[in-house]
Every structure is written in C-alpha cells, then in structure tokens.
Symmetry: C2
Amino acid sequence: MKLTLDKPLQIRVQEAIIDMIRDESLLPGDQLPTESELYKRFGVGRSTVRESLANLVQQGVLLKMQGKGTFIRSVPVRVKNGLDQLFSVTENIKAVGAVPSTSRINVKTIPAGELSDKLSIGAKDPCVWVERVRRANDEIAAYCIDIIPKSIFSDNIDKIDYKGSLFDLLAQNGHLVSHSESTLRPTMLTKRDFPEMKDSVGLFLLLEEIFFDISGIPVCYSNDYYSSNVFDFKIIRKRQLG
Amino acid sequence: MKLTLDKPLQIRVQEAIIDMIRDESLLPGDQLPTESELYKRFGVGRSTVRESLANLVQQGVLLKMQGKGTFIRSVPVRVKNGLDQLFSVTENIKAVGAVPSTSRINVKTIPAGELSDKLSIGAKDPCVWVERVRRANDEIAAYCIDIIPKSIFSDNIDKIDYKGSLFDLLAQNGHLVSHSESTLRPTMLTKRDFPEMKDSVGLFLLLEEIFFDISGIPVCYSNDYYSSNVFDFKIIRKRQLG
DNA sequence: CAGTGGTCTAGACCACTAC
DNA sequence: TAGTGGTCTAGACCACTGT
C-alpha cells in the first residue's frame, strides 16, 4: 500500500478555509476574503484556491456570486449518505455505525417473466432470485429481494455465497455497479410478509431499483424494504433556476 | 439584457465532446481519447479540456479513472421530476397531469421554538404556521405544514393569500428558493391526524424539508406528507467510483 | 517502463457588480 | 472606475495503472 504522505494541497487549503471560518466566527451570509487575498495568504496558486473553493461550493458550504464575492452558505456540515449517492444495503448499514449481517437467505431460479423489459433479457431467460433479511447489530434493518440474470454470473451459481454485499458479488463477476434507477414508495409490511418482525406491522421505505453496471447493462432488479426504525434518508434537492 | 455572444470555450469543448461521442458511435464503457489528445485536437489548453470533462463527469455522462482513462458512463436520460430536483407541491401535482387546489387552510403565528436552529433565528422570533390540504383533481394529494419566519415577509402577513404555491409566495417577498435539505420517512396518518381522508389510515411519504433561498438563508421549514396513492418518487442514484 | 489522469503554478484577460 | 469571480493558457511535476 502506497500512501501520499501529504494530502493534496487543495484539500489542506480547504481545511484551512474551514478553520478560518471557525476561528473568525464567520456566520452564514458573511463574505469570505477574496480569492486574491486567499492565495496570497496561503502562499499557493490561484487555481489551487479556486479548486478548494469549488469543492466547498459543491458541498454547499460556500456560495459564489460573480462580481460580488464568496459567501458562507451554511454551517459546514455535509449530508452523509445522501439518497442520490448509491450505496449497497451493506454500506448503508455500516453508515449508521452498525455491523451488518444476514439472517435468512432463500435462493431459487426463476424465469425473467415481467421483468424481461427492465433487465433487457428474454421473458424465459433464467434469473437468480435471492431473498434476504439484513440486520444491523442484529436488529432488522432491511428485507431485500434481488433478481439477477443468470448470464451475469461467470461462476457456477450453486457455489455462490449470498451472505455479503450484492455489489461485491456483482463486482467479482466483472460487473461494477455504476448507478440505479430507483422508485420510492412508503410501504407497510405485516408479519405475513415478513415473519421476523417483532411487531405485527412495520413501516418501510421500499426502494424499487434497477442497477446498471458501468457499461449500462442492467445487472439486477431489487426490492429493498428499509426499516424506518433504522434508516433516515437525506437528500439535498436543488431547484432548477433561470 | 447583455449577452455573451460566444459561449465559454469550455462549454463549446463540452458540446464538441458530446458530438464526437455521437459521431464515432461510442458506447457505454468505451474509452475516450486522452486529455492530451483532446486538447491538441481542439487546440485549447489542458485546463479547459479538464473543465469540460469535469462538467460531463458531474452530469454522469463520463467516468474518470486515474491511470486508466476516461470512459463513457451510460446514464439514462434525466428522470423527469426526479426527487433530486426541487419542485413545489403545486409543481409536483401539475407534473402528474392533475389540477392543484387547496381545500383547507389554517394559519397562526407561533414562536420558532425548537426550530430556531434550523431556521437560524431566535427561539422567540415569530413565525407563520400554515397548514394546508392540497388536492390533485380534488383527490387528496398532500398534507402540508409550512413554518416561515415572519421576517421573511415584507408585506403585512394578514393580507397574504396562502392558496397557491409556497415558492411563488416566497419569491414575491424577494426570496427565490434555491435548494432544500430534506429527510424522507414513510409515515402512516390516521383520520385523527388528517380528517379529510377517506380511509381510516393512509400511507404517506413525509418529506421534512428546510428550504433555502439563493443567499443561503433558511426561508421555510416544511413537513409535506405526499400521498402514496398519487405520487411515485423517482431518482437516479450514482455510485462513487474510482 | 510508458501512458494515464491529478495537482499545481504564474500570468493574462474577460464579465459582472457596485459605487 | 475599482474590485470581484470566471475563463484560459503553457508548462511542470506527481500518483496511479498496466506491461
């Protein structure tokens, strides 16, 4: 493992700007020193300062207005695990500081059927259907059904271990997951749908997703039911202006 | 109205790259020419090409991997009314092809209280609390509670008409809504919470949102309960790669 | 090793905002 | 007019990937 001993300069400058905001107790709406002032102060090139500022604008910390200046937009806190970022169920569980595990796995082979359009395969093409109960520190976190075209797998599907991350599994078969098309729906599950639940009914956020690899091939159709007790989904929504 | 007759070079280069992808029929996963090749071909500086590429990466069109190259990343055409785009309830209702209306309005003045942090005002500062039932073709579409600092309004608040779009109202008072920080939560409402409902319980997607204007000032805290019968929220989720 | 993208500099000029 | 951020260049070196 090779390491860059020093972080990139633009990152260090970025941190220095954050420190400056804190040290000088600048508040939202306040103006930052000019780019010219900043690159002289830090003794770096202007592009470096501009890269740092661009990152902070991207993160929503700063706001630039041409001809006016750079301003504090909000307290320097970034939304972690925003919904627009694609994470696997495993990663989402780790993100809330819990240990992921899988407590029930059912696997069978089915034809694509109605999903053939969504997966861009024939209706009779075989798919692997995987049903799993995912837990965070042993608490029920999500109920997941994944349907993957058999052609995605290079290995013999009988030898596959489905306990871990779906994304890892797909990556091992040469399909790096790039993005998803997702539909959100609030859902109520009962003990009949989901016997492991403690209560007779539970509220879940259903993410109906189609995952695509970097070549644009649909690699999986999923219904992931995230427990509202465990997960809070956050997102920054930007308005189309002008 | 002043115009820049020529678009910035980096935008023209960006369009040229898109044209090149189309003309050479490059497919998702294919490698783009190197930066070195591109800036020579277009006769511009490397930074300009890099800015253009950065925009396209940001838009999800391209994917960069250090040491490897730049690749086409297939992303479907932007989802219409995707959740990452900020629309008002009014706009969301129009987007499903329905006529928006408001069937109940309650307004009162309250102190900010616990919301003072979120709205960046004092706990005793007065806010306007607005409760509304929004309908799509007379069907219940959403139940909305909006809390707006009184200081946002330049007009006398008693003369305000709350029937229409919240965003229009804020814009009329000089606060163009720029973005929101939103948290999603599946929610069940009962007739007690929401007497207008037909059934005794209903499933809603709660969007707890803080809206900010273009200056980064928080202008409204909202709890919008969107009926799952009327709305389907879609989003394209991109995975952090490389 | 060669080739890729990533970082960084110094300097120039342009476009927009305010006074 | 002065001062801001926006665009653009030419050139240097670094870090990562594959052979």
